[in-house]
Assembly symmetry: D2
């Protein structure tokens, strides 16, 4: 009797099921480093605007791996060789591509950690796992870092049409309920092919690609950069900055041991590399450390910290204005003047109450790995030129918007 | 020009949108007591089996209110009078019906709090809100407690076909991805009517009701009482019991101030009523307090507590067996003997490692408020008799199952 | 450069896409015999109750083949050998399993053709196609007729858990909008396995199977045997019977040449086998021949035919009563008396106006190929015994209902 | 006891249910003129490319009325008065807006009927129904023809953001399975408002409107003007032209009496107005008359007619090329030369085999009733100016494409 291969299955409301393709992959999913992603929301504080958006990086990574598995099957069925080892490595590369994300995704990067990106940390964690597993991730890491000869495998992991984007657009629109972002991930995956070691999309899928680029732009402005989401995220960043400031002054703050290191030590990239306990602490840090601390800080003796924390916990967010040009200095100063009076804060503390900034996004970038269309006659063309219905090159220009945040109480 | 009524809208991937029906309802949603529900998951640890099941009691309460609003419109359209005040009160009653739920839903009730149900606490919180709002919740509370003359309004809030169940079955199946639980909530709501002040369903909807009862049974055994979910929940309960035990011995445990009260004080129902700070602490307690503490306790000096916590955090759950009859004493003793040897625990500590229990569920109860079917000839009949396709009275008998949990390492 | 395999893709709102697995399969789909299925609705006149139910046997056959393709992949991944030739043959067998269906599915069988089932005709058409293709369908036909050594392949085509049922339940619930019938086809397919050459379902899927049997029963009574659907189908059968009666008397009837043969000749099974033009005419007959004729017959000089046709075209259907026991003779006679008076018809014509009948359905049959559950310990058990939540053996008893149809105008 | 209002409910897989808002509306739905729409597919021959696209004008009209009903409720809730009579009239106007559509939607207009649009015929049919109903449609007809003082009601029926478009985009994407066309109809309807008697969309819905315009463009090119759909529709038009040509020569053609009038008489707009039997015949004509005839004509003695019909019935469509500029004369001539040789046809018959044409579409038109956005400060702005993410004014320029059709057999 043949030996049945037992393949673990995960439930997923987006795709129905995600099948774990190999034993090694299952070991990685089971690892505490990966299980931590169950406690990090994919979209940070977006649930304050879209209450369903509570899905985690764990689920997203599983979904991206599911698409990778399908993409590999499609490309193989079109006559290209992908060995089992390469397939497993590509699956691992996409599974682990975001493992370095911290609590609330980008909150730490912008406040208490300096010049360390989540990509850096993903790399460090993958290296550590590779050591633990006796080098079994060598090929996956090569693909992740684009050091493997078959470049298209890297493009499936990280490019403008990678499995990461195909999953997150679809997953985020599912959980937010924003149907504008629905992307025919399955259709696009079925149209993938490889020419000269480059990932391409067959021309039958050209409208789906155009729709994909448009959906991405829509999701940016309707969800990811939604002004109330921006307002919540800046409130969180301000809380962390204030806490860090107090910690540097030696003020005592309730926090978990893992968070303590990041509040009370100066954490640079060097620290991550040189001090093993830093990476170890990071690998224990998740949304719970931050939120539990913030809830306790609502009663802190530092009036500013306490107030900011209460505002987040009770969802009393900043008023926020968003426009296409910078805000006039006089308008901002007027608000600042009101704020100083009302909150009795000094000049250094003012940015916790009134502040401006800018966000920008390109729907398609001509600097990054392009999306190439394969025509029936064999010609390969950048989607920015090949696009049939929409002017993609216009969408390649960045859209920049300026925002202004201030307490709702200052509204005239 | 007529004054436009501004009605706040919430996004919901299940229904599209939930419209807030009145200013007073919006004030309640905005209240910190209700905002807390954003931090309490509807299905506790179920996400360890169904990773999408991260939705909160906040979203469920909004959804149930959405159905209530529709039900009221349907019943009015069939010629029954429901005043605007009654409609608002019914909306409020369903919105607040679960406000007394604690972290991970039932975790506290079963471990560190004694003889206080979440219904008790919901009542206490509603009373406190009513005082704060100068009596504006009087009617809502009457409906909630079934003290209002129009009994069908209470039945919409709490019965075997209430808006609570109609929402949670549909919502839970959406987020878990278990299509078995899909319920035609909209169809059922359209079929509601009132006869002699009792809620009834028109006979056109009889199959939908039969399906609803069946879906409920399926969801119970496929999701709510899924053996791995049971295993995770009992791990959490054991953690809390161990922590409480240590706290009673004066051992120091990392925890937020709100959790501290519940660990170190004896909390009875009297305490809730007499000591205002107890209810206040409860109103600050959510999933974050527990999970943050548990993560820190993974390094606690108490070996048992630390081990249980590591098991939960890294999702190394108990092995669990589920069967229709009690487990044989000898089998359980065999496992206990192994456990004592392997973990070096005494008899009192053994239940943290090996334990049995039972769960049961009735798909339909003849003790509770019945589901009544209205036939075209005016006759009203209990669904257990009226059912056409399935033997509902059989489904009214409880199904009881026995479970046995033990560390995976003990598997022979 | 490797030769890319071009695989034709069909759009399907149910599964997204259906990929045609081989060149031979594509030739069959392209054949006029199969293209005819584009003009035969899967659910006959059900759209008069569920207006979305316009999907065709063409789409259903494609969907069933899609599930077959997945089932084969799943079973192979569990270590069982299925050769490429066997896989293609199984795909063809399911694709063609319903090719012998006539217009409006069962309308002809019950009126103008005698003792010829659609299964008979499917067999005849498959044989003819096999001749045309030089024997390439030999293996497919063996599987279809259960004459091939690997019996589980036949069970995938025709059994109580075949790909036919898995597709039609899901597809019919999609197009009718009856969410009760939604079946986790994908989940069930993933749980398929083979033991001793018999198709089995792994025990993880037991709830999905129970739900499948229940969904089937619900779809029967809510859709397939919906009383208004019954009423419409009997109206159609009565129209065809009346037309046949007139044709036998030599009365002229507008009709297409293909329909003419069936109206004016006596068509038995022998005729199908012996007279090639009969099968040829059948292969040209579809919903359009019938409906176009019926529309013209609304002006026919035979009063009864004209009236019945007008009733169908304008959706003025019979009133219909459905109950669990036979109708009392006196009630029926009373209606008949009214009808004779109102419509001035003789005794022979009365059954066109007032008639009774019975329908019955078993959700699960113990006479047919069983659904077997495979437990982890290797044990295999009939679902009727293995079922955990519902009493499937009760569902195996047939439900029989009696109906009574009469013109709405006779309603007292 | 209050008198229950009985409201008829229709099943709809798109919205769940459509409730018939009044008795008069139900009478119209029940009328043979409206029931005819059950036999006219919304998307003609599109099902030859998207096999699910079999939905009818009946279902679309019901869906558009459902959205109208919701839109009226939303606008009322924002403080605008709409009387019950106006609401019913608006519902009727949208219900009947397409009642003049003939078989396969546009097939007749382009072949055998001259200078009569379906809008003309809709008007004629509405007038006739109004006579039949003793003037009860007066107000509905005024709204339909934009002769009623409240212009926004007409805009809901016919404009660039009318309920017609909101329904068909969503419905067509549901049944084709092209997720690109999914439009948040519900969200848009919730954002409707009225300013100075003009329909506007509140600025919160601006992204949904941009998505709506983009989705429309995508659906045009991916579905409505899909090259294979064009090919099928031109085959049908050529069949009708050839049949008409033969009829004018007195050649006998199998057809229903209703179709006969249109083939053998010269049907102008005057004929529709002056000869009551023309409108009556039209009101009996549907997809079945055409398709039944075409199937019979596959054996017609006219070689060209027979061949074209066989091609349609067996789905052997023209090869079609689609490009952004006109085809070169020499390329077309080359194909024509081949065709004349291969098919032995004369110059007049050549266009049945090889022909070119052009299609064009504007995603948004500045000539038609605009889509206006209402900003919070009260300002109202055309979406072409207000658009935030996409350059809508670019989308307002028509896209024109040229097609070339010829028998597949001529492919070199």
């Amino acid at each position: 009797m043949p030996q049945a291969v037992k393949r673990k299955i995960f439930n997923d409301p987006v795709y129905g099921f995600v099948t774990v393709p190999s034993e090694l992959v299952f070991r990685l999913i089971d690892h505490p480093y990966f299980q931590r992603l169950r406690r990090i929301r994919q979209l940070g504080l977006t649930n304050l605007v879209y209450p369903g958006a509570l899905h985690t990086r764990f689920h997203h990574a599983m979904g991206a791996m599911h698409l990778m598995d399908q993409a590999i099957e499609v490309i193989r069925s079109k006559g290209h060789t992908i060995t089992d080892a390469e397939a497993e490595a590509a699956n691992i590369a996409i599974l682990l591509h975001d493992i370095g994300h911290g609590p609330f995704s980008h909150a730490l990067e912008n406040s208490i950690v300096h010049h360390v990106t989540h990509e850096d940390i993903s790399g460090l964690i993958m290296d550590r796992l590779n050591v633990e597993l006796g080098g079994k991730l060598d090929l996956a890491i090569k693909i992740f870092r684009n050091q493997y000869k078959k470049e298209f495998l890297h493009q499936l992991v990280s490019g403008q049409l990678d499995m990461d984007r195909l999953d997150y657009l679809r997953r985020d629109s599912f959980f937010t309920g924003v149907s504008e972002g629905i992307v025919s991930s399955n259709r696009i995956v079925k149209m993938l092919n490889v020419v000269n070691d480059q990932l391409v999309v067959e021309d039958k899928g050209i409208y789906s690609i155009e729709k994909f680029i448009i959906a991405r732009r829509l999701m940016y402005w309707q969800v990811y950069l939604h002004k109330t989401v921006l307002s919540a995220e800046h409130l969180l960043v301000n809380i962390l900055k204030r806490a860090k400031m107090l910690a540097e002054q030696g003020v005592e703050l309730f926090c978990t041991p893992a968070l303590k290191i990041f509040l009370y030590d100066k954490i640079t990239k060097t620290a991550f590399v040189k001090r093993p306990e830093v990476l170890e602490a990071f690998a224990r840090l998740d949304d719970y450390d931050l939120m539990a601390a913030i809830k306790v800080w609502t009663d802190h003796s530092d009036r500013i910290l306490a107030e900011l924390c209460r505002n987040l916990v009770d969802r009393n967010l900043y008023a926020v204005e968003l426009q296409n040009k910078p805000f006039s200095g006089s308008y901002v100063e007027e608000l600042q003047r009101k704020a100083r009076k009302k909150y009795d804060v000094n000049k250094d503390e003012l940015p916790f109450y009134v502040f401006t900034g800018a966000v920008q996004n390109k729907a398609y970038s001509t600097d990054n790995i392009r999306i190439n269309i394969l025509f029936k006659n064999g010609q390969v063309m950048d989607i920015a030129e090949a696009a049939d219905l929409f002017n993609i090159s216009v969408l390649a220009r960045p859209v920049k918007k300026y925002f202004l945040c201030y307490p709702k109480q200052l509204r005239s």
